[in-house]
């Protein structure tokens, strides 16, 4: 490398990074321009005349010129003040210029301060080489040419100023940046803290919380509830469009909701089916809100499968129940029609049988022998029996179906009423009827109660003992919250093994000849008592008599 190149290089290298300045000493020259700070120039020479000459030349630059008469003094000055450039005399007694320069260079603060050596022309060869080795930036040869000196120093003054300005600007910039950075940092810390707290809720929530991209709806963040409820990992959820998880039938609705959301309308609660990883569907109830500025959608989802399943169960049970009720209603109305038909249509031929057998006997009896007349009478009796049977059956079926509304019933009144149509029979059989009513009222359906008691009294009058006149006692007594009404007779009695059977439909213990009856009466008594929330039974001793009872709620 040739020296010229080296020099050039050295200059560039030396001048670029500027040392940190200290505040310059107040100028003694007093000529300070308003807006431009003066820089310091250090002149080092042992000869006062030379110093004066240099000072005079540099005064024009209008900077702060400091003088030092020895290397030592120069070093002292350099400890206190920062200089834009040092003009250093090479040949000084004691510490010469080179020695001074090497010491200056050793201090980091002055390592890069430009040094211009001042040397005499005859010594220049020798000095230049050494000077450059010590990091000089330039040379001034004596005798000094003032313009050259001024322009060389002015370059360094200008350089110092520029560097200083850049440094200050850099500093200002750094301060601004630092402030902005600190502010951002604080904000970030605050946000982080708040977010951490929110994140705890986010993590803890048993419901699905998620943040989705505003435009394409993709999930950006989900909490752990998603995986618990739907089985997909966070990555799986984020990698697919959320609508792909929806039941195909629910997609159009969800699509509509999404466009509502994007158009800025508030979105109400809605429910969709979502496919679980295992292939089953879960019912999820959703709400969501869009934040246009952030381009985010906040999503909330709750697993409502259990509730939905229950609802569906209830719905299907309800439907089944409705259907069952309908079936029962149909059956019931069929039964109604059936009873109606029994009542109306089956009795008409009976009436004819009876009526014409009667007419036959009356109008043509003289042409029939006794057997023929007997046959005609049998037709009449059979028709009568069948009529009774139909009547009882109708009563029984009506009792099974009808709504029996209960009301307080006065027992004495009801019993007196039911005895009226039996008066003839009582008289004919020479029967005695006694009433001992300890309880006067009972809660019952009046007509049904009368029917029950009429049946029991009728039986007491029917199954009489041939050896004694019938005595019938009708009693009532309070038993807890019930009233027991009993009909006691002194008739033929019932063997214990039959006591239960006789309450069943069509059960009979005797032939129709011995004791006529349809086998329905006691079944009707039991059905009626049960339909009114009561019960019935019998205590009996054969050959001595029976006591039938009905227990009904007290009024």
């Amino acid at each position: 490398m040739d020296p010229a190149h080296n020099r050039l290089f050295g200059l560039t290298r030396e001048s670029a990074p500027a040392p940190r300045p200290r505040q310059p000493e107040p100028s003694s020259d007093g000529e300070v321009s308003e807006d431009e700070e003066k820089v310091n120039i250090l002149l080092v020479d042992d000869r006062a005349d030379k110093l004066l000459a240099l000072q005079a030349v540099l005064r024009e630059l209008n900077q702060n010129v400091v003088v030092a008469k020895s290397g030592k003094e120069a070093l002292r000055q350099l400890l206190q003040t920062e200089f834009a450039v040092i003009l250093l005399d090479v040949s000084m007694p004691g510490m010469d210029g080179f020695e001074t320069a090497s010491l200056i260079r050793k201090r980091p603060a002055t390592e890069h301060t430009p040094i211009i050596f001042v040397t005499s022309m005859n010594q220049s060869e020798n000095h230049v080489a050494r000077g450059y080795q010590l990091g000089a930036v330039d040379y001034i040869l004596t005798p000094i040419v003032p313009q050259i000196l001024r322009s060389k120093v002015a370059v360094f003054v200008e350089l110092f100023k520029r560097t200083e300005e850049i440094r200050r600007q850099g500093e200002r910039l750094r301060e601004l940046e630092e402030a902005a950075f600190t502010r951002r940092l604080n904000e970030a810390v605050d946000r982080l803290e708040a977010e951490t707290k929110r994140n705890r809720f986010f993590t803890l929530a048993p419901d699905m919380l998620g943040i989705g991209h505003f435009e394409d709806g993709r999930l950006l963040q989900v909490n752990s509830a998603w995986e618990k409820i739907l089985g997909y990992t966070e990555d799986e959820l984020k990698s697919v469009h959320p609508f792909d998880f929806l039941h195909p039938d629910d997609r159009p609705m969800a699509q509509e909701k999404a466009s509502t959301l994007i158009h800025g309308s508030p979105l109400g609660y809605f429910e969709t089916r979502v496919r679980h990883k295992d292939g089953s569907y879960r019912w999820i109830g959703w709400t969501a809100a869009a934040f246009h500025a952030e381009k985010l959608v906040y999503i909330f989802g709750r697993d409502v499968t259990q509730r939905k399943t229950n609802e569906q169960k209830i719905e299907s049970l309800n439907a089944q129940l409705k259907q069952r009720v309908q079936e029962l209603t149909d059956i019931n109305s069929e039964l109604e029609a059936f009873s109606y038909s029994i009542s109306h249509d089956l009795r008409a031929p009976l009436r004819s049988m009876q009526g014409f057998a009667d007419a036959l006997l009356e109008e043509h009896g003289d042409r029939l022998d006794s057997t023929g007349q007997e046959y005609a009478r049998r037709v009449v009796n059979s028709a009568k029996y069948m009529d009774a049977l139909l009547n009882d059956l109708l009563d029984y079926s009506r009792l099974s179906r009808a709504e029996l509304e209960r009301a307080p019933v006065d027992l004495r009144h009801e019993i007196s009423e039911l005895l009226v149509p039996l008066e003839n029979e009582i008289k004919n059989k020479n029967a005695q009827v006694e009433m001992e009513l300890a309880s006067q009222t009972v809660s019952a359906h009046p007509a049904t109660l009368r029917q029950i008691l009429a049946n029991l009294v009728g039986n007491a009058l029917k199954f009489t003992h041939p050896d004694r006149p019938p005595v019938i006692r009708i009693r009532s007594e309070q038993r807890g919250r019930s009233v027991r009404i009993s009909v006691e007779d002194n008739g033929i009695g019932i063997a214990a093994e039959h006591c239960d059977r006789i309450f069943r439909l069509f059960e009979r213990l005797h032939t129709n000849q011995a004791y006529p009856g349809t086998g329905i009466g006691l079944a009707l008594v039991r059905k009626g008592a049960e339909r009114m929330g009561g019960s019935t039974g019998v205590e009996s001793t054969p050959e001595k008599g029976s006591r039938f009872w009905v227990e009904l709620p007290a009024a």
């Binding site: 009542s343 249509d345 004819s352 007419a359």
Partner: protein, 150 residues
């Protein structure tokens, strides 16, 4: 009314019942003249004097109507409703004579303004007794309304 003979219109589709009731009325010594029609439509025709019944001297307006419930073409209830809506006929006493004891039928008939509701007894003697009472009450004791106008 022609002479003193009262007319009973008997609306009954069962020929056996027609015969039995005619016999029962005879045994009850009723003097009423019985006109029989066998369905609801004929009853309406008879009462309005249309079609085959245009001759009033042959088919006079009855003093009493015995009406069965279950009839072909028009039910007894429909006939009753129609009678009560006819200005010239609405006051004629109507007695239901039927086999049905169903409360729904009984109540419906009374709601439509029937004058009595009788269930045909199976026992013939009871039927005779019923016809005797019917004849003496409705055609004897009972005061008859004049034909209503408007």
């Amino acid at each position: 009314m022609p002479g003193n003979v009262r007319t009973i219109l008997h609306v009954e589709d069962d020929p056996n019942d027609v015969l039995l009731i005619a016999r029962a009325l005879r045994k009850a010594e009723s003097s009423a003249q019985v006109q029989v029609v066998t369905d609801g439509e004929q009853a309406v025709n008879y009462l309005s004097g249309t079609n085959a019944f245009s001759q009033r001297d042959q088919f006079p307006v009855p003093s009493l109507i015995l009406l069965d419930l279950k009839l072909p073409r028009k039910s007894g209830i429909e006939v009753l409703e129609w009678i009560r809506a006819q200005p010239g006929l609405k006051r004629i006493p109507v007695v239901m004579l039927t086999s049905s004891k169903q409360p729904i039928d009984i109540n419906r008939a009374y709601d439509l303004g029937v004058n009595a509701y009788l269930v045909k007894p199976v026992n013939f003697d009871a039927l005779v007794q019923m016809m005797k009472t019917l004849d003496s009450f409705w055609l004897g004791m009972n005061e008859h309304p004049s034909t209503a106008r408007e």
